[in-house]
Symmetry: C2
Subunit: 95 residues, 2 copies
DNA sequence: GTCAACACTTGCAAAATGCAAGTGATCTGT
DNA sequence: ACAGATCACTTGCATTTTGCAAGTGTTGAC
């Protein structure tokens, strides 16, 4: 399995990289991610569980029954790749 | 829609980035991609059609009834992002 | 004590993915 | 020229993933 395939195994699922991108701006709560990204709630819950299990993010308990999701070092290390992909996506498809 | 979302719209589908990565080494034929990547043949056909429509790759006819798939400039521009993701995937998940 | 907010879960439909077998157009050897 | 092999796919169907909508339990505020 190539390095790329290994990476896609972790962050290749739909919404995964978008969630990580959003967390590059700092920890976010569940409801914020949902509203900002427009991701279906069951998918969001699933992805957060998977990404936490993969060591990409962690839950931080806030006061009351709320919590925030924050990137781990491993998650933050995705910044380069996300920026590169974003730059590519920003280019026009100059025909 | 963010730049990242735009990029994922084009290369976010399963196998898409792996196909592009393989083509970074130069044009490849259908059967080579299939054998090297282990991608199901119907998926490969679908992805190649989508990536061609998106201007990421093009078909070059070879002699007889064979052809090869080659990245366009737009496709080659994915190299940075692919390398970055590959580097991330190569790292151990140092607990 | 009622009502709202937050962080989910559940049930089900729709879409994407995967497997296996089949198709038609060359091409190779005899 | 004919048989069999190769290449580049397509087709049919099962499985998995994704998405929508509604519901649940736990605080918290008034």
């Amino acid at each position: 399995m190539s390095d790329l395939a290994a990476a896609l195994d972790v962050v290749g699922a739909r919404w995964a990289l978008l969630i990580v991108e959003r967390l590059l701006d700092g920890p976010q709560r569940y409801g914020d991610l949902q509203r900002d990204l427009g991701v279906p709630t069951n998918i969001l819950a699933t992805r957060l569980r998977e990404l936490e299990a993969a060591g990409v993010l962690s839950r931080l308990p806030l006061r009351h029954n709320t919590r925030a999701y924050a990137l781990t070092d491993r998650g933050l290390a995705l910044r380069e790749a996300i920026v590169a992909l974003g730059r590519w996506g920003a280019k026009k498809a100059e025909v």
